[in-house]
Every structure is written in C-alpha cells, then in structure tokens.
Symmetry: C2
Subunit: 311 residues, 2 copies
Amino acid sequence: MADAAGVSLSTASLAFSGNKPVSDATRQRVLGAAESLGYTGPNPLARNLRQGRSGVVGIAVGQLSTAFRDPAALPMLDAVSEVLGAAGLGLLLMGDEDDHARLPLDAVIYDICGRETWAAYDAFVARGIPLVVVEGPTWPGTTFVDIDHRGGSAALARHLHDLGHRRVAVLTLEPSHPQRQREAGLRDVFPDAVVIGACASDHGAAQQLASDWFDSSPDATVLVCQSDVQAAAVVVEARRRGLSVPGDLSVAGFDGVPTPWLDLELTTIAQPLGDKGRAVARAALARIEGDDVEDVLLPVTLRVGSSTGPA
Amino acid sequence: MADAAGVSLSTASLAFSGNKPVSDATRQRVLGAAESLGYTGPNPLARNLRQGRSGVVGIAVGQLSTAFRDPAALPMLDAVSEVLGAAGLGLLLMGDEDDHARLPLDAVIYDICGRETWAAYDAFVARGIPLVVVEGPTWPGTTFVDIDHRGGSAALARHLHDLGHRRVAVLTLEPSHPQRQREAGLRDVFPDAVVIGACASDHGAAQQLASDWFDSSPDATVLVCQSDVQAAAVVVEARRRGLSVPGDLSVAGFDGVPTPWLDLELTTIAQPLGDKGRAVARAALARIEGDDVEDVLLPVTLRVGSSTGPA
DNA sequence: GGCTAGCATCGAAACGATTCGATCGAAACG
DNA sequence: CGTTTCGATCGAATCGTTTCGATGCTAGCC
C-alpha cells in the first residue's frame, strides 16, 4: 500500500476520497507514492463492503431482445441510465431467466408488467432491497411509476368519437395492468368496442393479427392499437390489401415514437418516456437513501396525426 | 448471525456455499436458524471482497438509445447475457458519459468501434481488468472478436458483378475499423465504387442521405448499404420517388436482420449475431479465469433476396 | 489393540477499504 | 502567558464473508 511512503492508512484513504480535509503536501505525497507503486486507487469491492453499497441498480426487462425491440423502451432506458450515471451508479440488465438474487444490487427496477415475471422479487424484499415498478401493479415494498393509461385512451376515444366513428376495434397487448387500464379508458367512450386479438408490441405479430382480421371482413371504421409499432404494422398490412388509411380505416397507436418508414404521422398517445425514466431513477435513488417516496403518475398527451380521419 | 444457533462461522459458510461437505443434520440446523433469524444468505458484498470478484461484466455500447435502435445489436446482447447469466454473472450497461472506472467489474466488453470512445480504457487496463473488443481495432491487453467484414463485402460485390452491375454506389457508416474492412472488400471487385455519404445505422439519417443522392441524378445501378436498416430506408425513399427496386435500382444491406415492414427480402450479408455474442461472452469468461484467449473471426454469409436484380 | 484414513467441524487469518474517536501542534484569543 | 480551538493525522475497530490448516472423532485395516 501507498502508505509505505509516508502516512497512515486512514490518511491515505482521506487523500483519495476527500471525505475530510488533507493538507496539500500530504495529498501530493500519497498520490505520488500511489503512482510510483502502480496503485490505481481504492479497491471498489472493499469500499462497497465497508459502505454497504454496491453502486449498481438492476433493471428487469424480461427477455432483452423482446424488450428493446420496442422503440418506446429506449428513451426511458436512456433517461434511467443518465440519472443513475450522474449519481455514480451503474445499471445492470437483468434477463428473465437468471438468478440475480446473488448479485449485490442497491435497488431493482421492474420494467415489465405482471407480478409473475418479477424475477427474484421475494429474495429482494427479504434482503430489504428497494424495488421500483414501472407500469406494474402496486405490491408491498414497492414504489410505483406509471402513466395515465386510462386517461390517454379515453382522450383518444373522444377524438375518434368526434370524428364520427362508432364501430371501434381494438388490438390489445397481452393482459397486464396497463392493458386493463387502457381498455377501461376506451370503454368509457365506446362500451362495446370489440377486441380483435392480443399480441406483444411486435411488427410481425401485429401484422399477422391485422391480416386475419381483414380476412374476416370487419365492419369497424377504426382500429385502436396499443403501440405505434402495432399501429404501423396495421397500416402496412392495410395498404398491402389496397385499403387507404385513413380513408377506408383509421388507425391509432400508443407511445409517440418515430415511425420513419411510414409516410404518415400516426395518431397516437404520446407518453413522456424521458420523464418516466427520470422519475424511475430518482425514485430508486431516493429509496436507496432511505427516503420515503410517493408513487408517480405521469400525464400523456393525445397527438393527432394523419392516420385517423372522419368515419 | 445464524451460528448463534449451534455451529461456527466456517461451518455455516460451508452449509450455504457447499464448498466442502457438511453433514445433513448440521445443514438443516443452519438453514433452520437462518430462516428463523431472517438471515437471507451470505452478503454478496462481503463474498465479493473475499473472492476478489464482483460477478459483473460491463458492456460499453455508446449512447444506449442509439446502440439499441439498430436491431442487429439485440440478438448479440441477448446471447452475451445468456452465456454470462448461465455462469452467474450480471451484465452492466455502460453509457458513454459516466465514469464507470469506480465500479467493480470483472471484465469489460467494448461493443463499439473506435478507440476514442472506449470510456475508461486506461483505468481498466491499469487495474488489470480483462477487455474484450467487438469489431474494434486490436489494442494492448485486449481480446478481439470480429466478423469477416471484408470477405462478406467481397462476396456481395461478386454477386452484383455477376448480375451485370458495373456502376456501384456505397452508403457507408461513419469511419471505423469495420467500415474500412468492408470498403476494402467492395473495392476488391469494384475499385471505383463511389461513396455517396456516411451515417449511423439509422432509418431517418439514411433516408435523408438517399434523398439527397437521388436528387443528384445518379447513374449507379446499385446502392450498397452497411446495414439492413439503411438499406430499408433507401428502399422506402426510392419507392417514394416512384423508382422500383430492384427494377430501377438494386439495393443491398448488411447484418441479416428482419425488416418486416418491407414487402421484399433484402439482399444482405448475414452475420452470426448469436455466435458473435456467445464468442464475446465466452472470451470474457475465459479471461476472467485467467486463461489465454485467441482472437475470434466469424464468417458471414451472402443472403440473396429480392432487392437486387440484373443491372 | 494400535495405526492410519477420512470426514466433519472449528479458529483464525485474510480480503482492502472507511470511519469514529483520540492525539498532537500551532494559531488565536483574552 | 495560559487556555481554547481548529485542522491534520493517526490507531483501531469494523464491514461479513471465505478459506487454510489444525483438531477430534469414528471407522477400517492388519
């Protein structure tokens, strides 16, 4: 250790951490000795043990390739990473299969819906690790960050109603907390909207579902989707069949992400992805500090594009 | 601690870790005591310090939202995560801005090209942390995993030459190690291929570049792109201008990822993304064990689709 | 019966920092 | 000049494991 060159362990530690004042001369001596001995600074593992923190926050997103294929996931992840990084914390990706209960995490973010997919939830709760859940159900020991699914869907529904639409079809996500909220919002305006099927936010799956639906000679004048990816797939499939959007069918999405390969702007519910990520990260930070944290509900905005028109 | 209920610390440790045999009766007693005292198993931080390992591998990908917007990034990330997870290691996302030198990482993967973006490289080398570089230049202390950019590009070029094409335009990535290799492969066949511009693998940017190029009344019969995302954007833009693909212009991509919103199959160089990820992860694991690791060069395959045709 | 093996358990020494409280001088103050 | 104060430094305790070597004990062997 560098203290062979002049000072005590405690002083050397202070010279590196700056937790207490150290005279300039001493600091120079310590840093110089470290340099010449090839000492590269405090061992992070030892620091972590002493401080009882790992400096790492886990984020569970289900299967990685599925989770990030949806463009809505990225801006949020970016924001989370940015806020945590600024606080000196790292972000650890938790796939859905591995046993992450043995890793030293300061907090865990669940960015998927459905309690059943919360890997290692019990272990984390038992160890007292703060949990932040995005768009999931509330659960003991958990801080909750959500967007206004229901209000957004209702706003979209009113927009469609104003355009004269009465026969509404819905392409849903697989059953989940946000999905239920969105359906409720839609039914506030269209109680008898008809669900044509459910799939993940995936272009191929949505296009297949839309194709089957078109085959059934539907009479709806608008198809409401649960993501812009789904909506884009529906537009592509409609056109492939010679249908015009919004002439023959109006299509609405959710999320408000760019779909640059379409030459129209989707009508969609834009959610504040960056705000959501920042709220999540701040909640995690606060809980790590031991502060009490309120659940967060973020507003969404209806963004009217050119994929919806008069019935 | 649980040893208040019967045994010594060492035995309790063995009961949990299983590193040495412990009698069944003792194990039961230890586990029972742990249960009733609310002890949730060995503290990961302490274990890490003792063992000198954190169980976490970092992966640097540049800005997150940019890196993962490219669909080619995900299958590889998935494979990396799967192999590391099976070995009990976690994967930590390193954005390009933060100081990750203070985190306890067992190894670091650089999945971006260009030495200048290797955040904290010097610090990691100084601390003796194994580094694995994907598609980057070789560098001291580094294990290198790459695909055969040059051979793949040359194979594509021969395919185009066979189709009768002689006037070739190229849309490149920003300058980087793989980009240089790919250009070399192309020029093995078409020495005077003309570069029309460079951009990241991003739909919007590529479409803009293609648009400018079409405005210049080009005489090339084929446009070679460096990713399927770029190629898809070019196809979209060509059609928007009433050009047929491959009738008026052949288009080729790179990567071999699905482009479900196009109704044609891109001609492309398919790279083994899963294999690449697994090779990277295995290299990291081996280096963590202290083994010597050979650099890896993976083959690619030409996949002829319907976006290229006779000149 | 004595000796050797082998198994289960234990004690103590790391792992490498941070941090609390004490000490020691020198400066400031009356 | 005596006393207080403050800043810099130091010693020792602590974080919670894992692991090495030693110790007992039982069983097997000749």
